[in-house]
């Protein structure tokens, strides 16, 4: 196994955050009660996603600086990983919303709209890539769009919900998750969870990246 220290650490941290997250006591807050445990699952996944999107934008910048296929592949794979991570992100959020807000989804909340839009924006990124056929042009176009998409993601996902009325914790005047950590007990599980999910997202990225490179090499040799 390559870099087993890294993978073992990620697995241990994930197991710790999941088991301790469901088992250790949490502060009792009105309305939230036990659902506050979602902080250990939902938030770290989104941290991983944002980090992946940032890495994708970084790869796009590196590609624009010197056009090597490697950075285009990095950018593309990181975007794929981010899209994959959006699934558990939304599922955990949706389950939490069902228990706290009484509904699986709402179209009135700006954060949720921002999430839907960001997924559409990155979906359009993949469509743009499939529309361009020549490799250099595909890479150039998608790098430019990726940077634009990332800046818009930051704007619509992180900035806009904080300004508008939102029920989502941390936005629109609601206390952010940091205020819940009344006894630092939650922090003890939360920070390792964030590290674990960021680590996991890079692991997934690496697997996908190696697979795509091998596929490319295979295609290159056989055509």
């Amino acid at each position: 196994m390559q870099r087993s220290w890294y993978k073992v650490t990620v697995v241990v941290l994930l197991l710790y955050s999941c088991i301790a997250g469901l088992w250790m006591p949490v502060p009792r807050l009105p309305i939230l009660n036990e659902t506050i445990r979602n902080v250990y699952f939902h938030v770290p996944v989104w941290f991983g996603l944002i980090v992946m999107c940032a890495y994708s934008a970084y790869g796009a910048l590196r590609y624009l600086k010197n056009a090597s296929a490697k950075w285009d592949q990095v950018s593309h794979t990181a975007a794929q990983t981010a899209m994959f991570l959006s699934v558990p992100g939304i599922l955990t959020g949706s389950i939490w919303a069902k228990f706290t807000w009484g509904t699986w989804w709402t179209f009135q909340d700006p954060k949720l709209n921002g999430v839907a839009l960001s997924i559409l924006i990155y979906g359009a990124y993949f469509i743009l890539r499939s529309a361009a056929h020549e490799p250099h042009k595909k890479a150039q176009l998608s790098a430019v769009y990726n940077i634009f998409a990332f800046v818009m993601l930051i704007l619509f996902l992180l900035v806009l919900p904080r300004l508008t009325a939102s029920l989502h914790p941390g936005n629109g005047g609601n206390p952010a998750f940091s205020k819940y950590d009344l006894d630092n007990g939650m922090r003890l599980i939360f920070y390792p969870a964030v590290l674990a999910w960021i680590g996991l997202s890079f692991w997934l990225f690496e697997l996908q990246y190696r697979y795509q490179r091998l596929k490319e090499l295979y295609n290159h040799e056989n055509h």
């Binding site: 559409l120 790098a143 900035v159």
Partner: protein
């Protein structure tokens, strides 16, 4: 005129006003002579307003008036952008590449699109107001929201236009790329427009949302200037 042979290494490429005004003048002259793009979108807009007034019997409650207005602006802006997409032929594209600086070219293109979109949208306000009534308590604020929305939307559309002009499947791709970026712009404009219609005073008005619209405009324009030279040299 400088021939574009070097790769831009910094974004402090001086913008040659003479070149820029030349490109702009040429674009407007072509538009005036052929009248294919802008006037057809104006026709589309007038047609939509007319159908709307037929459907609603020219009577609408305030929220609906506001919402339909902004939706109409969304689709006319998209139309304008899509129609400008294939305006230039292959030969003219090569001519542009050889003669012009990418910064001059893209600023001229941006100015051209923004001016067309501004005139179109202000005309929409007039026509829509004439057919459907104009019961806005703070008209100046409403107009400034329209102008800011036009700037933001047009900048986003010029950016996606620049991207899709390099790809053959242009038209549908432009819509797919731009609509997720335009949805928040228009939903913010709907909120602000409603406030302007209700005559909210300055203290209670959502200036931070105006700030978001300006941010979208500045980010789109800034990224356009920064990133377009990279697209230019991949011709």
């Amino acid at each position: 005129m400088r021939v574009n042979t070097s790769v831009p290494t910094s974004v402090m490429i001086c913008c040659n006003m003479r070149n820029l005004s030349h490109i702009l003048y040429r674009d407007f002259r072509q538009e005036w002579r052929q009248s294919a793009i802008w006037l057809s979108v104006v026709l589309f807009m007038v047609g939509s307003v007319y159908i709307t007034s037929l459907c609603f019997n020219a009577k609408m409650d305030k929220p609906s008036w506001n919402a339909v207005f902004w939706i109409m602006l969304l689709f006319t802006s998209l139309s304008l952008s899509v129609r400008s997409l294939n305006a230039s032929s292959q030969g003219y594209a090569l001519y542009q590449f050889l003669l012009f600086n990418p910064i001059d070219f893209i600023i001229a293109r941006w100015l051209f699109q923004v001016i067309l979109a501004l005139v179109l949208n202000l005309l929409t306000v007039l026509v829509y107001g004439w057919f459907m009534g104009f019961s806005v308590q703070r008209p100046a604020l409403f107009l400034s929201i329209t102008v800011l929305n036009t700037l933001a939307a047009a900048s986003v559309l010029v950016f996606t236009n620049a991207l899709t002009s390099y790809v053959s499947a242009g038209f549908s791709l432009l819509s797919i790329l731009s609509i997720p970026l335009l949805i928040p712009v228009y939903s913010i404009s709907v909120k602000l427009g409603k406030q302007a219609m209700d005559g909210i005073e300055n203290a209670a008005f959502r200036w931070d949302l105006m700030g978001i619209l300006s941010a979208v405009f500045l980010i789109s324009f800034g990224l356009l200037i920064l990133l377009f030279p990279y697209l230019w040299r991949s011709r």
